[in-house]
């Protein structure tokens, strides 16, 4: 196998070849680094590339494996981190000017767990500044670009994670998700993104946006790969106050390709309103296919869906302001215009709004438990109501301009599940032509963008979400498509 081909392997396939000593971690890491070198000029997915450290770690992994010390599925696998995960001794900028020179003094808990499993960290990935936005448009480090059309956004905030995984720069990445920041770029870039249950994965050493709503999760090209990465990072961390002491099942064991008997709910309200026609058609077609495969499809009422986004805002904005208050007071001009605006807006919420929103969270969780998850095992929705919009620098140069509308549209179907804390996964379920650019029309070459299906499960039941997603993936070939930027490079 050529080095270039090994860079396109799924994580699971690369792991099998490494285990069987058909592929060396050195070859695989070299292939990833070559891909990064070839594509970064077009994608801008990385903020920091640790080529030397990655090659040293790869050589060490190869040596350990040669001596019979194979540690498991992640041993020798390159896995990049959004630049808000601490990696000891490595710059952690949060894609901000404020933290441009910040060096992490110790590993985040998830970094440590990945390294203990033998994963190799080739670099730190671009994001929306401080993870506070859904477009990924960044005034400080440039905007990560969508591999399916580099004139379009990846979605955010885990923008670099989406671009890097979709393009094959690395087989997997970690992202964070406060209102959709894993699932939105997964949807817009055509990869798998999983936001686990709140408390499933430690956040210690991850720069917060909103303590009550932040989640950490994997972004990969296949569902099996997401299960593998989740396995490595899930589990109780006593030093993280939000981490839960819940048993962690063997996620890959649930991937049996079978959805027979699963009850999948299709929301009667909210989640199919104001959706692009092609997006709705693709998602409904995906649900029909799951039905043909043996799942029972039911329409369900989804309580509080219209109220949740406002309540989530009343929690997220004050928490974000509380975290940023000191820096915002001392260095306000170092913030991008859009992020500064959102932080300042946090000052307009009163304590009573925050407390009532947290009370609503209790009520909404109870309602979903009683009224939704007593009827169905999963809920299926579009991840985003639109495919990737064009990059508009005005998104961040004006505080309340078009970017705000784009953001509002992108987060509408994802942020309810941050509020509820349930696991939610996005995977590709179709493609649709982007509106043509003038140069494309002349060349008669219309580009297509991916559509995301979101599957939502009960609290702590990531296994069922992964099971259904994997079965759908096996029955389709959306995940096998390669973005044009890869073919063109």
């Amino acid at each position: 196998m050529s080095g270039e081909d090994s860079g396109r392997l799924s994580l699971a396939e690369a792991a099998r070849q490494i285990r069987d000593r058909k592929l060396s971690p050195v070859e695989l890491t070299e292939a990833c680094l070559r891909g990064i070198e070839r594509l970064e000029g077009k994608l801008n997915a990385f903020i920091t590339i640790n080529a030397d450290e990655a090659m040293t770690a790869a050589a060490k992994a190869a040596d350990e494996i040669a001596k019979g010390g194979y540690r498991g599925t992640l041993h020798g696998i390159p896995l990049a981190l959004k630049d808000i995960f601490a990696v000891q001794g490595v710059r952690m900028t949060a894609a901000s000017k404020v933290l441009a020179e910040n060096i992490a003094h110790e590993d985040a808990e998830v970094t440590a767990r990945l390294r203990a499993g033998g994963a190799i960290i080739p670099g730190k990935l671009n994001l929306h500044e401080f993870a506070f936005g859904a477009t990924g448009v960044n005034p400080h480090y440039g905007t990560a670009r969508n591999p399916w059309d580099t004139e379009r956004i990846t979605g955010g905030s885990s923008s670099g994670s989406g671009a890097a995984v979709a393009s094959g720069e690395c087989p997997a990445a970690l992202g964070t998700d406060t209102g959709g920041s894993i699932r939105i770029p997964a949807s817009l870039c055509g990869v798998v993104g999983l936001k686990p249950t709140y408390g499933r994965v430690s956040k210690r050493g991850v720069l917060p946006l909103s303590w009550s709503l932040d989640h950490v999760g994997p972004m990969t090209r296949t569902v099996e790969d997401a299960a593998i990465v989740l396995q490595a990072i899930a589990g109780h961390d006593p030093a993280d106050g939000s981490s839960a002491d819940e048993p962690v099942p063997e996620y890959t064991q649930s991937l049996d390709g079978n959805v027979r008997g699963l009850r999948i709910g299709v929301p009667k309200q909210f989640f199919f309103e104001n959706v692009d026609t092609e997006v709705e058609a693709a998602v409904r077609s995906a649900v029909s296919l799951l039905g043909e495969m043996g799942a029972e499809i039911r329409e369900v009422d989804v309580p509080f869906s219209g109220e949740i986004p406002g309540a989530l805002t009343a929690i997220m904005l004050p928490e974000a302001l509380a975290f940023h208050q000191k820096w915002l007071r001392e260095r306000p001009d170092d913030y991008g215009t859009d992020v500064r605006y959102r932080l300042e807006l946090g000052a307009t919420y009163m304590a009573v709004h925050y407390v009532q929103a947290q009370r609503l969270r209790e009520i909404a969780v109870d309602a979903w438990r009683r009224e939704v998850f007593s009827q169905v095992d999963l809920v299926a929705t579009p991840t985003t109501p639109i495919t990737a919009p064009r990059i508009d620098p005005g998104d961040v140069s004006t505080p309340s301009g078009a970017g705000l509308q784009t953001t509002f549209s992108l987060i509408r179907f994802t942020n309810p599940f941050n509020f509820l804390g349930v696991p939610a996964l996005s995977l590709p379920c179709g493609f649709t032509p982007f509106s043509p650019r003038p140069e494309d029309a002349a060349a008669d070459g219309r580009l297509e963008g991916p559509i995301g299906l979101q599957l939502v499960g009960r609290w702590w039941d990531e296994a069922t979400v992964l099971r259904a997603a994997h079965a759908y993936e096996r029955a389709t070939d959306w995940h096998k498509r390669r973005p044009p930027v890869v073919a063109a490079s």
Partner: protein, 64 residues
């Protein structure tokens, strides 16, 4: 812009430790409409006996 409105907004932001420059006031005033809608929706609901989700955890008991 309503000067009284702006003054209120500046005072409110100052209470949260945020200094809003004059050129940024207009944008924040427009955002205030969204806050008002959300605040109203949160204010009219009957929450019954629901308590807020909380994170406080008492430290483990220490041996004496």
């Amino acid at each position: 812009m309503d000067p009284q409105h702006d003054s209120f907004l500046r005072d409110l932001a100052a209470l949260a430790g945020v200094t809003v420059s004059p050129e940024r006031e207009a944008a924040l005033v427009s955002g205030l409409e969204g806050t008002r809608r959300i605040a109203e929706a949160l204010s009219v609901r009957d929450y019954g006996e629901a308590e807020p989700t909380g994170r406080f955890r008492a430290p483990k008991a220490e041996a004496r």
